[in-house]
């Protein structure tokens, strides 16, 4: 089918037009069919796509296992919350004097700033972990994620920066060209609800991020990331500055997390440390792994599935139980974890490279299966090399 599309540019454009129309009417169709709360869920799914694509750069491309990725989401969210809410002015007279109208930065400043600040945090995490790989790296990144969360929880004393566990509220809603996103917008007598406005904004940014990742994948930098993932010593021997390239992977990944975090803060109007737990990091990692590590369409699919299916369970399990047993036996939250675990096991058994893996990975797993096991000859001894690197 793809080959046919390549031969026929008219069909290609028609297909693209259909996709664009489908994405454009999606929020209205969903609202009509399933209610407004589902549009909100789709908005969140878009945020998760951004997160998963960011983590995919670190884990999928560069092969650096990061269990604290949600920290960048938190950094982005809190930066946005602090710069677009009355919190700082209320707690610091200096800020109140500097900005008499309160801190209300526009989205054009907040998005690039969120990206930049998160990238700086990415480098901060990357720099001390340059020599670590695999399990060791996972532990340190996990710690980093927790440190950020604990800081957010406790930075309300002696000076109140993050307002601790209560979080920061009254965050400005988005507004672009004076159009506020928290109110329905009337265009020629046609009303676009607030959640749909957010949908379009998130969709636009998601598309930007997908394009950036696609371009990165086949770039010089992308190849350098893959080389580091495959064999770091050989990558050095190719003339790759592995230190900078790794830091860049952390920074790029963090950038997407920071942008998504900022959008999350503006969308919710409220942030608190509770949204940035280890479980969230693991969910994003699961999206990458289940979807197909290193394969962009797979990662997008993984994010959509894992962001929407739990909600679908929430909406169906309680009524189903009421109907069958006249009362609720299992609470949907615990059922969610049960089904999630089951899904992980099934995917690892039947689709070890992910639901939609890249053709290369699929081939690799197929060969390994044919050979019956991973022969040392096929997978040259890499532990030896990495052990040497640790010395």
């Amino acid at each position: 089918m793809l080959a046919a599309l390549k031969k026929n540019p008219a069909a290609k454009w028609l297909g693209l037009a259909l996709v664009v129309i489908a994405l454009a009417v999606l929020p209205f169709a969903v609202e009509a069919g399933a209610g407004r709360s589902w549009v909100r869920i789709i908005d969140f799914a878009l945020l998760y796509i951004m997160l998963a694509l960011g983590l995919n750069i670190v884990v999928g491309f560069a092969g650096l296992l990061d269990l604290g990725y949600i920290a960048f989401y938190a950094v982005g969210a809190y930066m946005w919350a602090l710069l677009a809410s009355p919190h700082l002015s209320a707690n610091f007279p200096a800020f109140a004097a500097m900005f008499p109208g309160g801190l209300h930065f526009p989205i054009w400043i907040l998005i690039p700033m969120g990206a930049l600040v998160a990238a700086i945090f990415g480098v901060l995490l990357g720099a001390p972990t340059l020599r670590l790989r695999g399990d060791y790296l996972a532990i340190v990144t996990l710690g980093f994620g927790e440190i950020i969360r604990i800081f957010l929880n406790n930075l309300n004393a002696p000076v109140n920066i993050t307002n601790g566990p209560q979080g920061i509220n009254k965050i400005d809603p988005f507004s672009i060209f004076g159009i506020p996103f928290n109110k329905p917008l009337s265009v020629f007598g046609f009303t676009v609800p607030s959640v749909a406005l957010y949908y379009y904004l998130f969709l636009a940014l998601t598309i930007v991020i997908i394009v950036i990742t696609l371009r990165l994948e086949d770039s010089r930098i992308g190849r350098a990331w893959v080389a580091i993932r495959e064999d770091e010593i050989a990558a050095k021997a190719m003339g790759i500055n592995t230190r900078n390239v790794k830091l860049l992977a952390f920074a790029m990944g963090a950038t997407f997390g920071g942008v998504a975090g900022g959008l999350f803060a503006g969308f919710q109007g409220f942030v608190s440390p509770e949204s940035f737990t280890l479980m969230e990091s693991i969910m994003v990692l699961a999206m990458v792994v289940l979807g197909g590590m290193g394969h962009i369409p797979g990662v997008v699919l993984g994010a959509v599935l894992l962001a929407t299916l739990p909600e679908a369970i929430r909406y169906t399990v309680v009524p189903a139980q009421k109907m069958l047993f006249d009362r609720q036996i299992v609470d949907p939250e615990s059922l969610r974890m049960l089904l999630f675990g089951l899904a992980l096991i099934l995917v690892m058994l039947y689709r070890p490279a992910g639901i939609w893996p890249s053709p290369v990975r699929k081939r690799e797993f197929a060969t390994a299966e044919k050979a019956g096991k991973l022969e040392p000859e096929q997978y040259p001894d890499r532990t030896e090399a990495s052990e040497g690197a640790r010395l």
Partner: protein, 238 residues
């Protein structure tokens, strides 16, 4: 003749363990020099130091007259000093062609395609498998690929770390033939090997390493005939 590579009183320590206890050797332009020795003699450590993967504790390494120990590994490739790492280190999930292209990572000139053809000419097996993933190649083919990949950087000095490791005898023969061809084309080679006989047969000069020091050195033919070498490395009774 000035030495392309000159090593003086090189010492390397991993923590408290001194892996190299002050070694001296040199490689001249156009030579194929063998560095042989048993397991743990310090051969690989020497190569790691030469390619700046470990920092020497003492001593100097001069490559084309320049002290290299302060330079990072990735900068050495640009100066024509290429390493074929131990255990081959091919990029398993990239195709053969992509692996070779990675070898030319630091190059921006227009002759990369020409060099690719040259490598494929030298190793027709790789040409046949150019779209195959490197991880699916046999050990010998991976070794060829690792050598071919390093040739893509247009090296002046090639450091080969145990190319015969874990290969079937027939493949060892093939790989060594390639090493010989590469040497004839004018690339200077420092060959680190456990297979002393083959390495000495191929090279013009050799150094024998023993627990962090160089115990013997000289023309390869002489080393091959040396009773001590024959006893220790070729399994012959003295």
């Amino acid at each position: 003749m000035s030495a392309l590579l000159e090593v003086k009183a090189l010492e390397v320590a991993y923590g408290g363990i001194r892996a190299l206890k002050g070694i001296d050797f040199e490689v001249n332009e156009g030579e194929l020099v063998a560095l042989i020795g048993a397991n743990g003699a310090g051969k690989s450590t020497t190569l790691r130091a030469l390619s700046s993967l470990v920092r020497p504790a003492a001593g100097t390494i001069r490559y084309r007259g320049e002290v290299t120990s302060a330079l990072p590994s990735y900068a050495l490739v640009r100066k024509g000093l290429a390493l074929v790492p131990e255990g081959r280190g091919v990029f398993a999930r990239l195709s053969v062609r992509e692996n070779l292209e990675m070898g030319a990572y630091h190059r921006g000139d227009r002759e990369i395609g020409k060099d690719l053809d040259r490598v494929f000419g030298l190793m027709p097996r790789l040409a046949e498998r150019s779209t195959q993933l490197a991880g699916t190649l046999s050990g010998g083919e991976q070794q060829m690929l690792a050598i071919g990949r390093s040739l893509m950087s247009r090296p002046k000095l090639l450091l080969l770390d145990e190319p015969s490791m874990g290969l079937a005898p027939i493949m060892v023969q093939k790989v060594f033939e390639i090493v010989q061809t590469v040497a004839r084309e004018g690339v200077t080679i420092l060959l680190v090997e456990q297979n002393a006989k083959l390495a000495l047969e191929l090279s013009s000069r050799g150094y024998v390493m023993e627990s962090g020091t160089i115990s013997l050195s000289g023309p390869s033919a002489k080393l091959l005939a040396d009773p001590k070498v024959r006893e220790a490395y070729l399994g012959e009774a003295a």
